[in-house]
């Protein structure tokens, strides 16, 4: 059943992504100021939304794990965090590429980039912590607690970095969000690509979840074998 869902989603997402790619390269109008290079934006902002959804899902799953102690929530938490990290990395890297091309620098300490980097490090720490704990139950519990701390921290850091950057004016690199300044064709493309990437993220999540479940089944079988001795 799960495989059918994954395949069905795949059948929808792949053509969707290809169609978006085609439109982004050929059909969407140029930006007045930046010319064609701004198109990387369609692979910069949507991944941010997917990553945010991933982290949010991980937080909810972590809370649910601590309340219900069901291992499946731990599987969701780690899968969602990994997906979030992957998309956040895409967000960071595309941001850096765009910055390099548009402004000639790979990095700048503006609010968004800095916050993205901190957030990435925090959740990467989550994965590193998981590696250091062998016992699955203990690992699930400790990572759930860390995930809650991470979420609180990332939320607060968002505001903190924003205030930091409005206090100290530097090179203005604020990335425009889908506000009223965008051509409707661009704005629609943005939403469409967000949807496509969300679907892609969902596929990755389901595959990763499947991996975790198979691992748990193997653990259970191992227990069964041990118990028989």
């Amino acid at each position: 059943m799960r495989t059918k869902i994954i395949l069905a989603l795949g059948a929808i997402t792949l053509p969707f992504l290809l169609r978006n790619l085609h439109m982004i390269i050929f059909l969407v109008p140029d930006d007045l100021e930046q010319g064609p290079v701004y198109r990387i934006f369609y692979y910069h902002l949507p991944p941010y939304f997917v990553a945010a959804m991933g982290y949010f899902t991980a937080m909810v799953a972590s809370i649910l794990y601590l309340v219900k102690k069901d291992q499946k929530y731990d599987a969701i938490a780690v899968s969602a965090t990994e997906i979030g990290l992957a998309f956040a990395a895409v967000n960071l890297i595309t941001g850096m590429i765009w910055g390099r091309i548009s402004w000639g620098i790979w990095w700048a300490w503006d609010a968004r980039l800095t916050w993205a980097l901190i957030g990435w490090l925090v959740y990467f720490g989550y994965l590193v912590l998981r590696r250091a704990i062998d016992d699955p139950t203990e690992r699930a519990k400790i990572s759930a607690v860390l995930s809650i701390f991470a979420s609180a921290s990332v939320a607060i850091t968002y505001k903190a970095i924003e205030w930091w950057r409005t206090q100290h004016p530097g090179p203005v690199l604020s990335i425009r969000t889908g506000g009223g300044t965008l051509d409707p064709a661009m704005e629609n493309m943005l939403y469409e690509n967000t949807l496509a990437l969300l679907l892609l993220g969902a596929i990755f999540l389901l595959v990763r979840l499947r991996q975790e479940e198979v691992q748990r089944e193997i653990d259970g079988l191992r227990r069964f074998v041990h118990a028989g001795n």
Binding site: V128, K141, V145, L146, F149, A152, Q167
Partner: protein
């Protein structure tokens, strides 16, 4: 309240142990002074530069010192399995955490009391102009380190590579409070009163402390019972 009483017992015990052995105090103090020296070589700062980043520099020293101190916090319970005796006692996980965080706070404050004059001497800074405000900010920033650090000390106490994992996990999470403390300390070191648009940093610092103290107290029991 019993929880506070138990926390006081734990805090007193930690402080007594530390003052008896002086294990982390000695190494932390010398480490901090060395860092101050290294920064002087790295930047060779003029008074104007100090006015710009003196606060940041101080807090980096405190943060390194902080990691050393909180690392000991739960690690000191490992020899002879004292942690088992504490967890099986009527003291709740929350009071164990609170007591240890208080002890770490006091130890860290002690280190800061020595670093501050050292900083003043080595960098030629009169730091006591807004002493009241400075002490307030130091207290708030130090509590955020003690609180988050002690909690993570509990989280990582049984892990291999604890000494490495603890700072790695702790520092990114502390960034909002460190940022606020640095901003505020910078201004206070120059002796001017806090400008009105800086109260946002104060609020952030206080808010951070409230949120993370609550989270830590609430989750301490979960972490300590394996």
């Amino acid at each position: 309240m019993t929880m506070l009483r138990h926390a006081a017992v734990i805090a007193t015990k930690d402080l007594r142990s530390e003052l008896r052995t002086k294990e982390s105090i000695n190494s932390t103090l010398s480490f901090s002074v060395v860092i101050l020296l290294l920064f002087a070589f790295a930047f060779d700062p003029s008074p104007d530069m100090i006015a710009e980043f003196g606060g940041g520099l101080l807090w980096i020293v405190f943060v390194f010192a902080g990691a050393l101190i909180v690392n000991r916090s739960f690690a000191r319970e490992l020899p002879n399995d004292c942690i088992d005796v504490l967890v099986s006692s009527p003291a709740s996980g929350a009071s164990l955490f609170l007591g240890k965080a208080l002890a770490s706070f006091v130890l860290l404050a002690g280190v800061e009391c020595i670093c501050l004059p050292a900083f003043g001497i080595l960098y030629n800074v009169t730091w006591w102009r807004s002493l009241g405000g400075l002490i307030g900010v130091l207290a708030l920033g130090t509590w955020s380190m003690a609180c988050v650090g002690t909690f993570f000390s509990a989280l990582t106490v049984n892990l291999r590579l604890r000494e490495l994992m603890l700072p790695m996990l702790m520092y990114p999470i502390l960034i909002p409070s460190l940022l606020s403390a640095m901003m505020l300390t910078n201004t206070l070191l120059t002796g001017q009163p806090i400008p009105s648009d800086f109260t946002v940093w104060l609020r952030l610092l206080i808010g951070f402390n409230i949120i993370f103290t609550t989270l830590s107290v609430y989750l301490a029991e979960t972490v300590l019972v394996r």
